[in-house]
Each structure stands twice: as C-alpha cells, then as structure tokens.
C-alpha cells in the first residue's frame, strides 16, 4: 500500500492520503496537497499574509514595508528571515504598521492607512515606494486598500502597491506567494525602461538571497557572460522589478513561489523561462549549461564549471567521506525538498523522509521522481508526524527550519536549518555546497552529542 497512516494519526484518518511511501510500482502516485489543514492537528503551516509579506514582498530593499492591521503581524515577520541586501538593511531594520485598534475595526481603517503611507514616506524620504499588506482584519472590515494606495501614490509621487493577502485566504503561505507575484506584475513590472540592454540579460526568479545565496549565484552567472537584470525578489530594488520585462530569459529557482510571474511575463512579453535547481554539483552544472546554451555561451560555461569544481574538490571530498551513508530527513517549504534529494545523493547521504509545508502537485511529482524507493513523502506534516518519523526512520540528521530545530534536538537528532541556514553564507551553487556539507558535518559530528543520556541513567547517576 503506497499510502500510510502513521500511528499518531489514527484519529485523523484524512491524513492518510497526504503520506506516501514511494513504491516503484506506483511511480506517479503523489500525496494529496495544497488543501486545507485539519484544525488542531499541530500543523507547521503559516498564512497567506506570511507568504506575501515575508517571502515575496519583504526582500525588496528600498520600499517601506507597511502592514495594514493589528500590531502582531507587523512585529513577527520583522527581520525574521535573513533576506539580506547589498548596501542597505532598510527593509530589515524597519517595520511599519497601521496598528489597527478597536475603533478602526468599527469605523474602518482607510483614513489611518492613507495617513500612515504619507507619514512613513515623510519620515523616510529615500524610500522608493510603499508596499501595503492587508492582514485578516483589514480584509474582514472591507478596507479598499487598492483605492487608498492609488490616492496615496498621487500624494507622495511614488508607487504604492497594495497586496490583498489577509491570512484567512487560501490554505497556506502559498496563495500569498501568488498574490505577491500577481500584484507586482500588474503594478510594477514594465513601468521603467532598462537603459543599457545587453543580449545576455536574464532575471533570476524565485531567489531571495537568504544569507547571501544571491551573492554566490549572480557572480557565477556573470562569469559565464550573463547579466542579471533583477533577482525576484532577493536583494531587489523596486526599480529592478520595474525593468524585469527587458530580460531575454527568466531563470526560475523557487518555482513554487515565483513561477507565476514567469508565466505571466511569457504571456505578456513573450519572455521564455527555464527552471533550475542550483543546489548540488550535477544540478548546478547542468543548470549553467542549460542557461548558457540558450545564449550560445556553452564554452564559457564549461570553463567556469571546471574552474569552480577544481576549487571545491578537496574540501568537498573531505566532507563527502564524513557524510557517506548518513540518513537524512528533509522538511522544507516546497522546492528545496526537490532540490535536495540529488544533492544529498551526491554527498553519499541517504534521504529517508521528505516533506513540504505547502507543496503543490508539481512539487510532489518532482519529489517522488527524485527520491529512491522506500522514502516516505509527507505533505503538510504536523508535529506528531515529524516526531513519529524521527523515531521510526531514525535519521542521523534532520534538515528543516527554526520551529523544528529544538524539537529535533529533544529527540536526540542532530539538526541543520535549511530555511535560514546556520552559517553566515548561502548554501547554493558550488561554493555554497561546500558550506552546506560543512554545516551538515558540524551538526553530525559535534562531540556534545555523546553526553546526552537517558532519563533512566540521569536518575541513577550519583
């Protein structure tokens, strides 16, 4: 039977269709996904606002990030995700809110929103625009944030972008990504012209510069002879997004959160797109070849690949030796769960469980295709399922995010943060892979683990 119901879910039978044990005979069975969470199941999912504000809009470095609603939703995502930027930390250091109160809930918050946009722009005259995000309450009381944004934009003479992303919409963060794509496409893309065009202009789509991933990828692409017009949205200025339409090709890294804009650009501007992984050696090399081929830069690409691989070989070989035969459990938002099975295989690491928070069918198709027989694939896992998987599959390492890190440690399972990374740099492309492997090694081989004892031993200890 390809679908399994964990012991912890015996009272939540609807979870069975979300949990698939890969079986070669069932190549194309995939878990149910992108549907509502069972209330009270201790899900790890976030909301639409989180996907829009935190993932897609938040990294834009030179705009005022204004949340329209009560204060909490301004505070929690404030600098919570290290989408760093060149030359500024404005978007991380500052968070803006209309801080809606009871009277606003009764009488509406539009006036407060308008005043907030104007005041914030006066306080920070260098900001290049304002992103307004609706949270639950703003959606419920029916504030017309788009109309307010239009009026306020006239008043401040800068773009004001309204994202209608209240948390109750959709089933996960995923819809928020979509809203973010749609709104930026409708309001910003194509509003400015790229002055000096080259035949090698591309956009990097769905890459957010977590801890500087972008600063590994962009130089690599440039060394092949390409030019990145805009990274959507890591380290991006609103002016970069405005010129995206000038690119000749869209290269998509996180297809879950940003394929939408590539599809819309293809339809409107005829810009072709290709999907890449950019994690691991083989995937990165093939991605570079694929992109280079489009521009006739194959020779240069081979040269760069050869040089990069030579640079990392010695260090990577050391870690490979150390990681060989280890078992890993991967739980990410979406694409990293399909970027990594092959990356792990390259490192000699065995993937035993893969899960995603908000994957859609296309994500699971890729995952199921890329994992080996006998791997457990979980959609939208809840805490008890993760615990059971840790106990049953006994991974040597769990790669997930902040909320799972300490749970993993309490189960005695070494952990690595794959969402925001533990180290001060990215994990992508060749150079990042070395850091990724090094950090896995550090988690696995920490001597501290050998002092962990059982409740029983602790009780008997003198």
């Amino acid at each position: 039977m390809p679908f399994v119901l964990p012991e912890c879910d015996k009272d939540v039978p609807e979870r069975k269709k979300h949990i698939y044990l890969k079986d070669e005979k069932d190549e194309f069975a995939i878990p149910a996904c992108n549907i509502a969470t069972t209330p009270g199941d201790l899900t790890e999912r976030g909301c639409t606002y989180a996907g829009c504000r935190g993932v897609v809009g938040g990294p834009v470095k030179d705009v005022i990030q204004l949340q329209h609603g009560p204060i909490g939703c301004c505070y929690y995502p404030w600098a919570a995700r290290p989408h760093v930027a060149t030359g500024t930390n404005f978007h991380l250091a500052n968070a803006f809110s209309t801080d809606l109160r009871e009277s606003n809930i009764v009488f509406g918050g539009e006036k407060k929103l308008y005043n907030s946009i104007v005041e914030a722009s006066e306080a920070f005259p260098n900001a290049q625009g304002v992103f307004v995000y609706a949270t639950c309450v703003a959606g419920l009381i029916g504030d017309d944030i788009t109309a307010v944004a239009k009026r306020a934009s006239k008043a401040i003479g800068k773009p004001v972008v309204a994202f209608n992303c209240p948390g109750f919409r959709g089933v996960s963060q995923s819809l928020g990504h979509h809203v973010g794509n749609q709104v930026l496409f409708d309001t910003i893309v194509g509003t400015e012209e790229l002055e000096e065009k080259t035949p090698y202009d591309i956009n990097l789509i769905g890459e957010y510069n977590i801890k500087g991933d972008d600063w590994l990828i962009v130089p690599l692409l440039e060394s092949i002879g390409l030019r990145v017009v805009c990274t959507f949205t890591g380290d991006a200025s609103i002016h970069d997004i405005a010129k995206m339409h000038a690119a000749k090709l869209n290269v998509i890294r996180c297809a879950r959160s940003a394929k939408y804009i590539a599809e819309m650009m293809q339809e409107k501007y005829g810009t072709p797109f290709m999907e890449v992984d950019l994690y691991g050696i083989t995937q990165t090399a093939n991605d570079l070849r694929k992109v280079a081929q489009y521009f006739g830069l194959e020779e240069k690409a081979e040269e760069v690949i050869t040089k990069e691989l030579a640079e990392i070989k010695e260090e990577l070989d050391f870690y490979r030796e150390k990681l060989k035969g280890k078992k890993v459990m991967i739980y990410q938002g979406g694409p990293r769960s399909w970027h990594w099975p092959e990356t792990m295989a390259e490192l000699g690491v065995d993937v035993v469980v893969v899960a995603t928070t908000f994957g859609h069918e296309d994500d699971y198709e890729k995952i199921v295709k890329r994992v080996k027989n006998g791997t457990l694939v979980i959609d939208n896992p809840n805490a008890p399922e993760l615990e059971e998987a840790m106990l049953k599959y006994k991974p040597d390492l769990f790669i997930s995010g902040t909320k799972e890190k300490y749970l993993s440690h309490k189960y005695g399972v070494p952990f690595l943060n794959g969402h925001t990374y533990e180290s001060s740099g990215g994990y992508m492309v060749f150079k990042g892979l070395v850091r990724f492997a090094r950090d896995m090694y550090k988690s696995l081989y920490s001597p501290s683990w050998k002092f962990v004892r059982t409740q029983e031993t602790a009780a008997e200890a003198q």
Partner: protein
C-alpha cells in the same frame, strides 16, 4: 519631565506584539497544556517562530486554521474539530482557547462553542480542562494578552477548598532565568508558592532521552485550582497579572499585592517585604547577604555609573523597574518608552522621579510610543546606554550607543532567556553587564 503622547497614525518599529503571544506564553507555563489559537495559521506559526528563536526550545501551539468559509459561517466547526483532535492525540491536561483579531471580528462566541462541545461530547470528561481566553489583537498588546490569560485561568479553574498556606505569584512575561530567581528567593524565605504560571522548566528543559510527551514542570491545573486557597497573590509585573490577582481578591477575599518588578535594592526589598507581610516569614541571612553584596558592588561601581545617561524601552513593568534601578545607581534615565497607552505609566514615572529627586535633567516619557520615536529623541539628546530587547540593536548601531539586552525577545543572541535581572542577584548580574559595557566603551 516631558510626557510625549503619540500623534502619528503610522507605527514605525514597534517594540510590542499582539495579545495572543502573551496568552500562549501564559499557557505554556502550565504542565501538559496545549494552547489552541482560534485564527489563521499565521497566528500560531508567527509566535512559535519568535519564541523558538528566543527560548531555543520546542514551542507547540495548535491552530484552528480559519479560512474564508469560517469568516462567513463562523469558526465553530473548526474549533470543535480542533478540540477533538487535540484531546484524542495529545491528551493534555489543559487546552487554552485563545482568540485573535480574526475570530473576535467575526464574532465567534468561544465560551458558547466550548460549552456546546462539552455537551455534545460527554466522553471528554474533565481530565482535560478547557479555558477560554478573549485576546483580540486590536486591543492592547502582548502584555494584556498575558494578563487576560491568567485572569481567565483563575476565573475558570480556581476552587475554594482548604487553606494551603502558600502564596500565589504571577510572574508576567519574565524569562526562565528570572522565574528561577523568584523561586530561589522564596525557597530561601521558606515560602511555598503557586506560580501562575511557570515557564522556568517547560521552556527551559534539560536534554534527556526519550523526550517526555510534554515538557516536565509547569504549574499543574490542580495548582491553578488551589490558587483560591492561598494566603494572597503577588504580581511581579503589575500589568501582567493584576486582573488575575483582583479576581482572586474579589472572589475569595485574599490580598493582592500588585508589586513593582523587583529590580534593584528598594524594589526587591519591597517584594520580600510583601512576602513577609503575607506569610509572616522573615528575610533570612542569606538574602540579607545577597542585598549587601549588591550594595557593595553598587558602591564599587559608583564612579562608573553615576551620571551615565540611559534610554530604556520595553514592557511597562520592566521599564519602571529598570528606571528605578538606574536612579539607584545615579544614572540619568533620559528617555523612557513603553508601548502601554495608559496615562498611569507617566504618573508612575513621575512618582519615581520625585522619589529620587532626580536633578532637573529633562526626561522624556514616551507613552505608547515606538522605536522611531525613541531614535528621534536619542538623536536630539544622545545617551551612553540603551537598555531593552533586541530590536534596539538598529538604533544602537546607527547611533553608536551600546545596547544592554534585557527581557523578551532576544531572537538573535544566545542564552538571554537564562539570564536574570530581578532580585538582588539578578540586579547584580545586570549591574556587572552595564558596568562592563561602559568600560568597554571607555576602552574604545
């Protein structure tokens, strides 16, 4: 004294969160409890993420996952389904139903829904208590959320039986390090206490295998019930406990001491004095020593602390406590900011000012302000130190003024949840940190 009230519409860099996180915090201080947030999925994920970064512990919070349908037809089915799942799968001793701006605006009557849930499901007896807490995010801040949670717990769970000879302590949103310090002081006094509630172990657990189903420690639901039979209630943070203390006072006629946070000499003395008054237990030699060790250090440091200008921001009780301690050290608290929009805060501050006869330095009391206000005031009148949580780091960096970190959250550093700032020993730790920070700066 200049009292500054907000006039701007926009809030820029708020050092405050919403009510639900305060209620989640209070719930997690109860043994085997599951906080159940009645709202969108972000309402559990966001607070969890922040608390994980601060405590470096697992933080399990359930959510009713309200979506479009629930905004139209109400969230009763989601809430009932969630209660069923949590009871069946987690077997907790307590579920706290915590509302959000969403469920409050749609108007779900959580008390009625829980009542009908119990009537429909007699199979779930009272072995899992369910407490309903109204925490609309558009009223007050996390401070009120904690206050409301404790109030709801004692209102709905306390039961008068036999006197227990204990005192009730409502810690407020203090770190495990501080709660452990209170426990230490009361142990020295020979006083037994019921903590409403106690995160000192649930969010600060040793690593031993196998992981217990629920973290060890925390206040039991039986202890919460027994809080009706105590000698009295002391709040460490007035604003994060006064409602609960007053419920116990009104219901059972027990005294409520709405204390000032015991930071520094006088406030700690006052706290211990209240304990003595309530229990008749005298301060032992060990605590007298702790006091005088602190005084010894204060005197030793006087050259370095006297006249030092500070800016202090954070939760109202922490700011009041830190300001008093700053005065005891001869510092000049030039800018004090709290997010509490209550004129009483300014009055409390002015009373402090009078107590210590602070010289005519103009002090800005920013009521209901944000960190943008604070940064503007610091630009006008620079200070030597900023004391507050991690969000002060941007001002610290921009203005080149060191930040002494206290309170919650400290999401970007290690071990602050274990530090203490209250009691004589906590104050001494804080003094050491402040003085060394000043010395580091002199070295530059």
């Amino acid at each position: 004294m200049v009292v500054i009230n907000r006039t701007r519409s926009v809030t820029i860099n708020p050092p405050k969160m919403c009510q639900p996180i305060g209620a989640i915090w209070a719930s997690l201080g109860v043994h085997a409890s599951v906080p159940l947030v009645h709202g969108s999925q972000g309402c559990s994920t966001y607070p969890r993420n922040l608390m994980c970064r601060h405590f470096r512990e697992p933080v399990e919070v359930a959510i009713t996952s309200l979506h479009e349908k629930a905004t139209i037809f109400g969230g009763a089915p989601n809430l009932k389904q969630a209660l069923t799942h949590i009871i069946k799968r987690q077997h907790p001793k307590l579920i706290t139903v915590i509302t959000t701006c969403l469920s409050e605006t749609t108007g779900d009557d959580i008390h009625g829904i829980v009542k009908s849930f119990k009537a429909e499901n007699p199979v779930y007896d009272d072995s899992t208590k369910i407490v309903t807490i109204n925490t609309p995010s558009y009223v007050g801040t996390h401070v009120l959320g904690y206050d409301n949670a404790i109030k709801a717990m004692v209102s709905q769970l306390s039961e008068k039986t036999e006197p227990n000879g204990k005192i009730n302590i409502i810690p407020g949103m203090l770190n495990p390090g501080d709660v452990l310090e209170v426990k230490h002081m009361l142990k020295e006094m020979g006083v037994e206490a019921i903590y409403l509630t106690d995160i000192s172990r649930t969010l600060n657990a040793p690593l031993r295998l196998p992981k217990p189903h629920f973290p060890e420690g925390g206040t039991t639901t039986e202890e919460i019930a027994d809080s009706a039979n105590s000698l009295g209630t002391i709040t460490l943070c007035k604003h994060e406990g006064q409602s609960g203390a007053n419920v116990l006072k009104d219901k059972y006629g027990m005294p409520a001491f709405l204390g000032e946070l015991p930071i520094g000499v006088e406030a700690t003395e006052a706290f211990l004095g209240n304990v003595t008054q309530m229990t008749g237990k005298k301060m032992p030699e060990s605590l007298r020593d702790e006091r005088d060790l602190l005084v010894d250090a204060m005197v030793d440091a006087s050259q370095l602390t006297f006249g030092v200008k500070v800016a202090i921001f954070g939760d109202p009780d922490i700011v009041l406590g830190l300001t008093r301690f700053a005065y005891e050290l001869g510092m000049k608290p030039l800018h004090v900011l709290t997010t509490l929009e209550n004129p009483q805060f300014a009055k409390d501050m002015q009373a402090l000012d009078t107590d210590y006869g602070a010289d005519a330095e103009k002090q800005n009391i920013i009521v209901g302000g944000d960190l943008y206000d604070l940064s503007q005031k610091i630009k006008e009148t620079p200070v030597d130190l900023i004391i507050g949580d991690y969000k002060g780091k941007y001002i610290s960096k921009d203005e080149g003024i060191p930040l002494v970190r206290v309170g919650f959250p400290q999401a970007d550093r290690f071990g602050y949840q274990r530090k203490r700032m209250i009691g004589y020993r906590g104050s001494l730790d804080l003094l050491d940190t402040m003085v060394n920070t000043i010395m580091d700066r002199k070295d530059d």
